[in-house]
């Protein structure tokens, strides 16, 4: 359990650092997929079976393919990579890194106030299985579930309005 967490946590952090550090968008997408798969394994270790599957199919599958399509569409003829700059050059980079560091410290302080506790040893039977999750989603939370359909519909209409017309 702990070994699984350490390995997957390190892979997830490595993927995230890769997304921040790499210059080529395709490499960034691959690093992000690595991050997502490590997180999916962690979701499994948290008894969230359905969420792990969704993480791989929707996130690592559909959303990342969308990214790849846009990268392929936009960068077919020109070099997409940001010009390589030195690490933390210029005042704005230093300021951004400082803000991120402050964010990390503040969040870690907040985590320090979470009471140290193990994860519940006794689970309700069937917790996190697809059947139990589906029951919670479609019985208890059916209205938010219907709202997501509306959100996705608005997103699709918005995308068509933004890029669908020939004369934008």
């Amino acid at each position: 359990m702990t070994a699984l967490f350490v390995v997957c946590g390190l892979i997830a952090v490595a993927g995230a650092v890769g997304v921040v550090a790499l210059r080529q968008p395709v490499h960034q997408v691959l690093a992000l997929v690595l991050n997502f798969f490590a997180l999916a394994v962690l979701y499994l270790s948290l008894n969230a079976e359905f969420m792990a599957v969704i993480q791989m199919i929707i996130y690592a599958g559909a959303i990342m393919v969308l990214f790849l399509f846009v990268i392929a569409l936009l960068t077919a003829r020109r070099d997409p990579g940001e010009p390589r700059r030195g690490f933390l050059t210029g005042p704005w980079d230093v300021a951004g890194a400082a803000v991120a560091l402050i964010l990390l410290v503040l969040l870690l302080v907040a985590v320090g106030r979470v009471p140290a506790a193990g994860i519940a040893a006794s689970l309700p039977t069937g917790f996190g299985t697809v059947a139990a999750f589906g029951q919670a989603l479609l019985y208890t939370h059916v209205f938010p579930f219907e709202l997501t359909a509306f959100v996705l519909m608005v997103a699709v209409v918005g995308v068509i309005i933004l890029v669908g017309r020939k004369q934008a």
């Binding site: 959303i63 964010l103 979470v114 208890t140 699709v156």
Partner: protein, 103 residues
């Protein structure tokens, strides 16, 4: 003392900060969008950790994480559409150079 929950929440915080650093440091809108994805997922990890911790209370945390994923999908679709629109008007995109709000 078992402090598994702190490990998971700590990892979530670290991923969130890495994503935030990327949003602040990168110039390419595609990179920024991907770093925002890291931040969404860090939040999801925290949701699922707390859902596991208070499993006896039901699946509310997992349902919320599911809703977060759908909203993230919508956000990615809109964000990429905006990036494509900006790319049509300019040769290279640097978020610092996009100042005007009209299409």
């Amino acid at each position: 003392m078992d402090n598994t929950i702190l490990l998971y929440i700590g990892l979530s915080v670290i991923l969130f900060a890495i994503g935030g650093a990327g949003v602040l440091l990168r110039r390419s809108p595609l990179a920024i969008l991907m770093c925002v994805e890291i931040m969404w997922n860090a939040g999801n990890l925290a949701f699922l950790t707390f859902a596991r911790k208070w499993a006896s209370a039901g699946h509310d945390g997992q349902v919320f994480a599911f809703l977060v994923i759908t909203v993230a999908a919508a956000e990615v679709a809109i964000g990429l559409a905006i990036i494509v629109t900006i790319f049509r008007h300019r040769e290279k995109v640097d978020v610092d150079e996009v100042r005007e709000l009209h299409g």
